[in-house]
């Protein structure tokens, strides 16, 4: 099995002096797992978009409801009456756009295990530290970088 090398550089973030006085600087992790787009985790967020092209909410809705590719409805209820059989494992995503920021949502989708190592939620854009991935999925992620941005654009419309 191909194991991709993960380079994690733990950096000491130099926050502004005023900020640092109030709380410890957030953990910063650089994730670089080619061929994925490299990204930087700051605390529980990924502040920068993964792609230059802005997210497309219409396409994003298709991404998150793709029944063959880890749809959120497996576990979450969503305000989508046209989707049958919503799961009840996880909190409803109704109104999620008002409860979460875009950088928080980006990490949640890219690699939810960075937020909660024990979560059952899938990591949609992650290649490292996986065991015995099925042959046909080796080296693949659920989503492409643009899918992440499109999904975010859609989910933020759920106010």
């Amino acid at each position: 099995m191909v194991r991709l090398v993960l380079a994690i550089a733990l950096l000491v973030a130099a926050g502004t002096a005023a900020f640092a006085q109030q709380q410890p600087a957030p953990r910063v992790i650089e994730v670089n797992t080619p061929p994925l787009v490299p990204y930087r985790i700051v605390g529980n967020t990924i502040p920068e978009p993964l792609t230059a092209q802005p997210g497309d909410p219409v396409r994003g809705k298709r991404v998150v409801t793709d029944a063959t590719n880890g749809t959120c409805v497996l576990c979450h209820a969503m305000p989508l009456p046209e989707e049958p059989n919503h799961g009840n494992i996880a909190p409803s995503l109704a109104g999620i756009g008002s409860r979460i920021t875009v950088p928080e949502l980006r990490l949640r989708l890219v690699d939810a295990k960075r937020i909660n190592p024990d979560t059952i939620m899938l990591s949609y854009y992650r290649l490292h530290d996986l065991t015995r991935v099925q042959q046909q999925y080796v080296g693949r992620t659920y989503w492409a970088a643009q899918d992440v941005e499109d999904a975010i654009a859609y989910l933020m419309t759920l106010k």
Binding site: N88, K113, L122, L130, V133, Q134, Q135, R140
Partner: protein
């Protein structure tokens, strides 16, 4: 006088009968599908599917049991024997057997399950070729032997020489794997009763195998179910009959100790 004799006779009979009657009492009362918090998959089914399992005339798994019954009596191999040549009436000789499988096997130095035991009997005693794993014949014979223990509690030995294999099976159950990066335990220990899309997640017990799965429109073995769950996790499955799945089967069987044998169970 006659009356006293009759009474004594019927008392004697009833004293002798309970074990047999227990195995044949079917359907079981609903309470029997749960033992100290361990719950059979039956517990999580819709009533319609439970009725299918309860009623032998509707249970589609009974076709496999009947096919197995025919094979039991079929002479095959160079020794010119059938299973029945030596074991006679399976209702007597095979009663309670499947409840003890899988088990440690000294000859093999590892875990053997009922499917592999049947094939060993064919090869060693009948001088007949082994049956293909998951073939109708092997499923049939396994279902037929399992059926003889229906209603009896699963009694799985994991102490002594079985212990290291049990540990490996347990490790498998808790190991996160696949693109989903989740473990068996995350669904079947932590989320039993919850809805994963259209499915109600059960405890993942194997007391009803081989079972009839409506979604497959066919029978399936424990190892086929393991394969299904593994690929749902987008994890590379292991071959049927592999050491990995045998160890896992031992752990999962022990996890459901005390649950009644339900073969042939019906599941969604």
């Amino acid at each position: 006088m006659t009356r006293t004799l009759l009474l004594t006779f019927s008392f004697l009979c009833s004293a002798l009968l309970p074990p047999l009657a227990q195995a044949q009492q079917w359907p079981l009362p609903a309470a029997r599908f749960e033992v100290e918090g361990r719950k059979s998959g039956y517990f999580y089914l819709g009533r319609q599917t439970q009725i299918l399992e309860d009623d032998d005339f509707q249970n589609p798994g009974m076709f496999a049991v009947e096919a197995g019954s025919a094979l039991w009596r079929k002479v095959e191999g160079e020794a010119g024997l059938s299973c029945a040549s030596c074991h006679n009436n399976a209702a007597v000789t095979m009663k309670g057997v499947s409840a003890r499988y899988p088990r440690f096997d000294a000859e093999k130095g590892g875990i053997i399950n009922l499917e592999l035991m049947i094939n060993r009997e064919r090869e060693q005693r009948m001088k007949a070729p082994p049956l293909k794993y998951e073939s109708e014949q092997l499923i049939g014979l396994t279902a037929y032997i399992g059926y003889q223990s229906r209603g009896l509690p699963r009694a799985i030995e994991v102490a002594g020489p079985a212990a290291p294999f049990y540990e490996k099976g347990k490790e498998f159950f808790f190991q996160r794997r696949g693109l989903t990066d989740i473990s068996c335990a995350m669904c079947h220990d932590d989320l039993a009763g919850a809805n994963l899309r259209g499915d109600v997640i059960s405890q993942g017990q194997i007391n009803g195998f081989p079972f009839y799965r409506l979604q497959w429109r066919s029978m399936g073995s424990t190892h086929r179910m393991f394969e299904w769950c593994n690929t749902s996790m987008r994890a590379e499955p292991y071959p049927y009959g592999s050491e990995e799945y045998l160890n896992l089967e031992l752990y999962v069987a022990w996890r459901g100790r005390g649950l009644p044998v339900e073969t042939p169970a019906v599941r969604k």
